[in-house]
């Protein structure tokens, strides 16, 4: 890592304003780092010119005084966000070479804030996966390795390219999306921070849909402060998204405080589950101590429907996905494979265009919505979802923020997890917050015995990202997590 690529976004922002360096220098340093990290397969598309153009604009504007908040900051954008004129494929063959004539609201907000784009980040196909192995571009390789091993590890998923890029220092910050843990689990696997805000904070307009009622964009970066800075730029009401929240964007960065005096931290007893490594539970206990040290009072809480969260998620998310992905039919854009008649063309296109995991979820989703099964699966899942929301509502009468581990394991090797159900278990701690639509964040807590990062998971009440960020900051300050992967690429 060069001196510049080692800096946080806050440091880059302040250093640029103090004229310690130019935006162009930052962009060039990152472009070089990106070009030198192809072995990670983190970027699906590199856009060095975009980063340079934004940097030059920032340098030119530096004299003006009213610089936009992200002037001089280049960012990586997950390939799920539509970027005007730049390949946007959601990691899928079916959108091969698709260049949208429009820009997603979130990436447009970042551009308005002055940020440039380093490239489009690799991801699990249509954000369906927890290991980045379902991408049509091939898996992202985590910059992290087990002590004394050359085995390629997954950065988690689906925002795996995003996580790997931040961890490897080839982006100071990135966008991710989180449907059932896709920001938080890869953040945990790669020793970085990532926050999924309250559902509706970030517009979904221009983000390729996976499961509409769950999808939320959020930032991933090295520090809690950087996440706050990015989220402020990404969030905001968008009349083009009916589910967008019509609320002002809080000043999360300005209100950051690791003083948790008077705050209660809920420890959900249902999150103590079998098969979770002792190291993870130990880190959890350590996290409780850190928050106590910051002035918070731990309190045991109950989220009684937790065990139903994963099955509920794997009904609702595939159901919505089966319908959301119907538009990829070969008629108007993307891949078309000719076949016998219209139905033949549909089948051939979708058979070739979608990968195995996407097909699996389309089939599950189609099944749970079909006549005769709808009530038993979909309706029941909606009811359970309501109960899970209620669990959180009740819990937040007792506490201000909830602490759990982010994932039930550290990063695993590429190809090591072949059973889809075992893969789904990765999101066991992440999914309840997604179903409830509440904000949640992963912050690095430490390394396991093999030298791999582990994350701590903070869940907040609806619209209370501030307490989540503040508790994250308290952990960050106390964990003193400075470990970086050793460069092997």
């Amino acid at each position: 890592m060069s001196e510049l690529t080692a800096k946080t976004i806050a440091e880059l922002r302040d250093g640029f304003r103090a004229r310690d360096f130019s935006a162009r220098e930052v962009a060039e340093a990152y472009n070089a780092a990106v070009a030198g990290a192809k072995a990670l397969n983190a970027y699906a598309v590199e856009t060095p010119d975009d980063a340079l153009a934004a940097a030059d604009a920032a340098d030119k504007a530096r004299g003006n005084g009213d610089l936009p908040p992200l002037a001089g900051i280049p960012l990586g954008i997950k390939d799920l966000f539509a970027t005007r004129g730049v390949n946007t494929t959601a990691g899928s063959r079916i959108l091969k070479d698709f260049k949208p004539p429009y820009e997603s609201t979130v990436s447009a907000n970042l551009r308005k804030a002055g940020a440039g784009m380093l490239g489009k980040l690799n991801m699990d196909e249509f954000a369906m996966g927890s290991s980045n192995e379902t991408s049509a571009y091939g898996p992202v390789i985590s910059p992290w390795r087990r002590k004394g091993s050359n085995v390629g590890l997954t950065p988690g998923g689906s925002s795996g390219g995003s996580a790997a890029a931040v961890a490897a220092g080839i982006a100071p910050g990135v966008t991710g999306t989180d449907t059932g843990g896709s920001i938080r689990q890869p953040a945990a696997f790669t020793g970085i921070c990532g926050i999924k805000p309250t559902y509706g904070r970030c517009s979904r307009w221009g983000i390729v849909s996976f499961a509409s009622s769950l999808d939320q964009a959020g930032p991933m970066a090295r520090t809690v402060r950087d996440c706050a800075i990015l989220l402020e730029a990404m969030a905001g009401f968008d009349p083009k998204d009916s589910t967008s929240l019509d609320l002002p964007v809080p000043r999360w960065e300005a209100n950051l405080s690791s003083d948790l005096k008077g705050k209660c931290v809920g420890i959900p007893k249902e999150y103590r589950i079998d098969g979770v490594p002792a190291e993870i539970n130990a880190l959890w206990d350590q996290g409780i101590e850190w928050l106590k040290d910051a002035g918070a009072t731990p309190v045991e809480i109950s989220l009684p429907h937790t065990k139903y969260a994963l099955p509920t998620y794997y009904i609702i998310a595939p159901a919505e996905a089966s319908s959301n992905l119907a538009r990829y039919d070969g008629v108007r854009y993307g891949l078309r494979v000719e076949g016998e008649g219209l139905n033949g063309m549909y089948s051939a296109t979708r058979a070739e265009g979608f990968g195995a995991e996407v097909k699996r979820r389309i089939m599950i989703g189609t099944y749970v919505l079909s006549a005769g099964f709808y009530d038993a699966y979909f309706t029941k899942a909606q009811k359970v979802r309501a109960l899970i929301k209620q669990d959180f509502r009740k819990a937040f009468e007792q506490c201000d923020v909830i602490l759990t581990p982010t994932a039930p394991s550290a990063a695993f090797g590429i190809g090591e997890t072949t059973d889809p159900l075992a893969m789904y278990l990765n999101d066991v701690f992440a999914v309840p917050a997604s179903l409830a639509g509440v904000p949640a964040m992963s912050v690095p807590g430490g390394l396991d015995g093999q030298g791999l990062p582990l994350g701590l998971h903070l869940i907040g009440n609806e619209l209370d990202e501030q307490t989540v960020l503040n508790a994250g900051l308290a952990i960050e300050e106390r964990a003193g997590f400075t470990a970086r992967p050793e460069k092997w690429w």
């Binding site: 949208p100 979904r204 307009w205 849909s209 509409s212 083009k240 589910t243 319908s323 538009r327 709808y374």
Partner: protein, 492 residues
């Protein structure tokens, strides 16, 4: 029901059969210039694919946003049909693959429609108010239209036009309350009339802004409902009536021949006047309806509903009753209120101060006659209500006679001139100058001395002849009442 109107029956070999009809009418919300969930335009007849937004084309990451005005129009329509407006409703996705459906689903409302139960009154006999029958409305929901495939543009490929894709439709679902082709026709006409009064839909069936799915079954009178067939996309009142007639007969023949009616979807071929099977129940799609997660439930507040209610015009039934209250005959009132344009024209005439009964008779007889002859609709009438009022006032105050009025009206139609100006210019003013009338009478009597003798000899019916001759001599301008008076005086 009017006792005169015998129930519609189909005479089969096994006796009489009753037909049961329900209609699902798709009415495009033409009051708005943009689509249900996008800002694209909806004009009829535009070049293919020129009115398509990113949302309509279902580009990746595009999201629907409900068009408030479409919802408002559907609510107003519901109110006009005395229907329950659901303050909480929701959109569902109806999933199926077709090339004219870019999203792979239609956004509709299955589980919680915007409008619930209502009703509409039809007259099975226009001249007889006792023939009124109420037809139940089950629901009205709002949904997107699909695009259009064009199969005749290329040898091996079909073209897709997405202009209609996403256009807002109201699906107005009736109860199976109709019992004859005539009732189905009357229902559709009445519904169309109400939509046009409300202004939510222009009711233009030729341009496809209104079309009906016709559900038909037959049964022995009083028996349980039979199995129904659904004939899709019928696009005129006449065709709807033909479908009912044809389907009912087909089903009776089928059942009497030992067969069974299959629950299926059929298509109507207007050239051959037959329906044919499109797909059976077994082939029916599993639409996998579920709530659209891109959209929040629609919640309507009181202020919105009040605004909808206040914006409603006087509806045909109320207007008809009001007209009857003004002394207009039930038949004239019915004719004048059937079409919103006619009613508007007539209201303007009343506003201009015309006596209602005189005005209604004149519109129904003179104006309609003239427009018919000229092949013009009332909106195209060369004579405006104000101009007509001027003419009718000249008759009412005795300035011109009814006979002269017809002449003046013809000139108005041709020249667009005002009635008073025509009367002045051409000297058509009715005369009450007794000297002139007496002089004319003298001449007539002198020229017809033989008839005068006959009259005096008892042939009283010749009086009319003298009146006619006098009027003729005065070129129609004499006050007929005075002519009568003077003639009687002269003839003794």
């Amino acid at each position: 029901m009017a006792d005169a109107a015998a129930p519609f029956r189909i005479k089969g070999e096994t006796g009489e059969w009753e037909v049961v009809v329900g209609l699902e009418v798709h009415a495009q919300i033409t009051a708005t210039a943009s689509k249900l969930f996008s800002g694209a335009a909806t004009a009829f007849g535009a070049e293919p694919n020129t009115q398509v937004s990113l949302v309509d084309a279902a580009m990746p990451g595009m999201l629907p946003v409900p068009n408030r005005e479409c919802i408002r129009q559907a609510v107003r329509t519901g109110m006009a049909l005395d229907a329950k407006i659901n303050k909480w409703s929701r959109f569902d996705r109806k999933n199926y693959f077709y090339a004219d459906l870019p999203q792979g689903y239609q956004i509709s409302q299955l589980y919680h429609p915007l409008v619930g139960e209502g009703e509409l009154e039809i007259l099975t006999d226009e001249k007889d108010e006792s023939s009124a029958k109420r037809i139940g409305i089950e629901r009205i929901h709002v949904e997107q239209d699909a695009g259009k495939l064009m199969h005749d543009q290329h040898a091996t490929m079909s073209y897709v036009d997405l202009n209609r894709c996403g256009v807002a439709l109201m699906e107005i679902v009736s109860r199976p309350d109709m019992r004859s082709p005539a009732e189905a026709g009357a229902y559709l006409r009445k519904l169309r009339s109400i939509l046009r009064y409300v202004g939510s839909c222009d009711g233009n069936m030729e341009e496809g802004s209104m079309r009906a799915d016709v559900n038909v079954s037959v049964r022995k009178p009083g028996a349980e409902f039979g199995t129904r067939t659904e004939t899709k996309n019928v696009n005129s009142v006449r065709f709807v009536m033909a479908v009912v007639e044809h389907e009912a007969k087909r089903q009776v023949e089928l059942i009497e021949g030992g067969g069974e009616v299959a629950q299926e979807t059929r298509l109507y071929d207007p050239d051959k006047n037959v329906t044919r099977s499109l797909r059976s129940k077994e082939d029916a799609h599993d639409y996998r309806y579920f709530p659209d997660p891109d959209l929040l439930p629609l919640e309507l507040d009181e202020a919105f509903l009040d605004d909808c209610a206040k914006s409603l015009p006087e509806l045909p039934d109320d207007k008809r009753k009001r007209y009857e209250g003004l002394g207009i005959t039930p038949y004239n009132a019915s004719v004048l209120t059937a079409e919103v344009e006619t009613a508007r024209w007539f209201d303007a005439l009343l506003e201009a101060g015309v006596e209602p009964k005189q005005g209604s008779n004149w519109v129904v007889a003179e104006l309609f006659g003239a427009l018919n002859r000229r092949g013009e609709s009332i909106e195209q009438s060369p004579v405006s209500p104000t101009q007509a009022a001027e003419l009718l006032k000249l008759v009412a105050d005795g300035t011109i006679s009814g006979t002269i009025a017809k002449q003046v009206f013809e000139i108005m139609l041709e020249t667009g001139q005002g009635a008073a100006a025509i009367v002045e210019e051409r000297g058509l003013r009715q005369t009450s100058d007794t000297g002139a009338i007496d002089a004319a009478i003298e001449k007539v009597l002198a020229a017809n001395a033989d008839k005068v003798a006959d009259y005096k000899g008892g042939k009283q019916q010749l009086f009319g002849f003298f009146v006619g001759q006098t009027m003729k001599a005065m070129a129609g301008k004499a006050n007929p009442q005075l002519v009568n008076e003077r003639l009687r005086a002269k003839l003794g």
